[in-house]
């Protein structure tokens, strides 16, 4: 699938500061933070306020808010990943030993991890859609 000459370095080779791996971690980080925030909020609410048979109505709104923030964050990171992946003219699989392909590979990996994180975040949120009490 690689186009002729696609793997040589592009004229628009990214700056050294773009070689960071941090972008790769941001999607799963949103997923992790969303999970922890949701779990801890529900645990404190049930243990300290609602009681064992109490309603999760308030927590539902809070977790809904967390979910919206996490999904927007994941979408933003995906967009940055997609832009990295699309830099220059090269196509997949971004496996050449060049600065440009490393940059594109990290972008594509970021995009895939964001997809996984998006689905996982939605799955966590589904819990409070179907379960309405602390029981």
């Amino acid at each position: 699938m690689t186009e002729p000459d696609a793997n040589r370095d592009d004229p628009e080779t990214p700056a050294a500061r773009w070689h960071s791996l941090w972008l790769l971690t941001l999607g799963p980080a949103f997923w992790t933070m969303h999970f922890l925030a949701s779990y801890i909020t529900a645990a404190i609410w049930c243990a300290k306020f609602a009681g064992r048979a109490g309603s999760l109505e308030t927590v539902r709104w809070l977790i809904g808010g967390y979910t919206a923030v996490a999904l927007v964050g994941i979408c933003l990171v995906s967009w940055f990943g997609y832009r990295q992946h699309k830099l220059g003219q090269a196509t997949l699989p971004h496996d050449a030993d060049t600065a440009g392909d490393r940059h594109r590979f990290l972008g594509f990996s970021t995009l895939l991890l964001c997809g996984l994180s998006f689905v996982a975040t939605v799955y966590i949120a589904l819990t409070v859609v179907f379960i309405g009490t602390c029981e």
């Binding site: 939605v122 799955y123 589904l126 179907f130 379960i131 309405g132 029981e135």
Partner: protein
């Protein structure tokens, strides 16, 4: 030594045909008393249904993904797919389709939880305490008095029963696969499990959380009875012990009290009022000895009393093999006669 062998702890269900070859290889019985796929309670029916839907979903995803992989590697279509078309085949079959199926299955599983956990409309409350390595069971008699039993739970068919589950020592887990899911018994906490048996019968329960040397010997029976039979049984269990009165049984009662057995065991109607071990007031009426381990007859009872530590390692009850054979026999006759 155990009452149920691994052969009896099998799988069952109307979908048994699908897994018959696997079972044949594994040597399992389709009609075991400890089968999550042979449900006899509302909870187990829902869990069994979920299992089959999830198994079906997994097979569907596997078939689509492997089907596309085989198509990609083996098929020789006249007109080759363009890159864009092939990519959508991969994304559709490998990502979108599995995600949609898993989302449906997850939603179905989550929808079941409130029904399984609901504590409303309960007909009967039973307290069960998991202790190393037996089960303390407390009912309230029709007269309102607490009735303590051990290692056997009887339930009325068609009634919703709330079990409050506790533990005084380590974490245990209460599981009767034929009736419902498992719930942990955690020291310092009271968990609730709802059972709603739908078929009369005798089922096997186990401790599902490793809890020490004799964890594997911590089982129990659940007998599901018609409601009127259950009421009669509970009324009988609330009564004090009645010995058979034979000379051997009288000698056994004396031996029980003289040898200090009453420091750990209660036999209502006698001076024995210990609380460390199981209540033995109607021990002769139970289906098993040693928490689901042994058949309940006088001969096995004598072996249990004389060789407790060999049969159930590290259990708190010492072996009483030092007693004369005559006393052991008399003790066994007395206890197995407490119906």
């Amino acid at each position: 030594m155990t009452l149920y062998t691994s052969r009896q702890i099998g799988l069952n269900g109307r979908h048994g045909g699908m897994i018959a070859p696997v079972i044949a290889v594994g040597g399992c019985d389709l009609h075991g008393p400890q089968s999550a796929l042979s449900p006899a309670g509302v909870g187990a029916e829902q869990i069994s249904s979920l299992f089959w839907w999830m198994a079906g979903g997994a097979v569907l995803i596997w078939a689509v993904v492997i089907g596309i992989a085989l198509y990609a590697t083996l098929a020789r279509p006249r007109k080759k797919h363009d890159v864009q078309g092939a990519r959508w085949l991969i994304i559709g079959g490998g990502i979108v389709f599995p995600t949609v199926v898993l989302t449906i299955l997850l939603s179905y599983g989550l929808m079941l939880i409130p029904k399984l956990r609901s504590t409303g409309n309960v007909d009967l409350h039973v307290a069960v305490s998991g202790e190393m390595w037996w089960w303390r069971v407390r009912y309230t008699s029709p007269a309102g008095e607490p009735v303590e039993l051990a290692n056997e739970i009887r339930l009325p068919v068609g009634k919703r029963v709330s079990l409050s589950l506790t533990s005084p020592d380590v974490i245990h887990s209460f599981w009767v696969p034929s009736l419902s899911g498992k719930v942990d018994m955690i020291p310092g906490r009271e968990n609730t499990l709802i059972l709603e048996p739908t078929k009369p019968g005798t089922y096997r329960g186990v401790c599902a959380e490793y809890c020490g040397a004799s964890h594997a010997f911590m089982a129990f029976r659940v007998v599901v009875m018609e409601p009127q039979d259950f009421e009669a049984w509970l009324t009988h269990q609330a009564q004090p012990a009645v010995s058979s009165g034979s000379p051997s049984a009288r000698q056994g009662e004396q031996a029980f009290l003289v040898n200090g057995c009453g420091a750990c065991h209660t036999i209502r109607g006698t001076a024995a009022d210990g609380r460390v071990g199981p209540d033995l007031t109607h021990v002769g009426s139970r289906l098993s000895l040693g928490a689901g381990m042994l058949p309940n007859d006088a001969q096995t009872f004598a072996r249990w009393i004389g060789h407790t530590q060999q049969i159930k390692p590290e259990v708190r009850m010492p072996s009483f093999g030092m007693l004369p054979e005559e006393q052991l026999t008399a003790l066994a006759t007395y206890l197995s006669g407490l119906k």
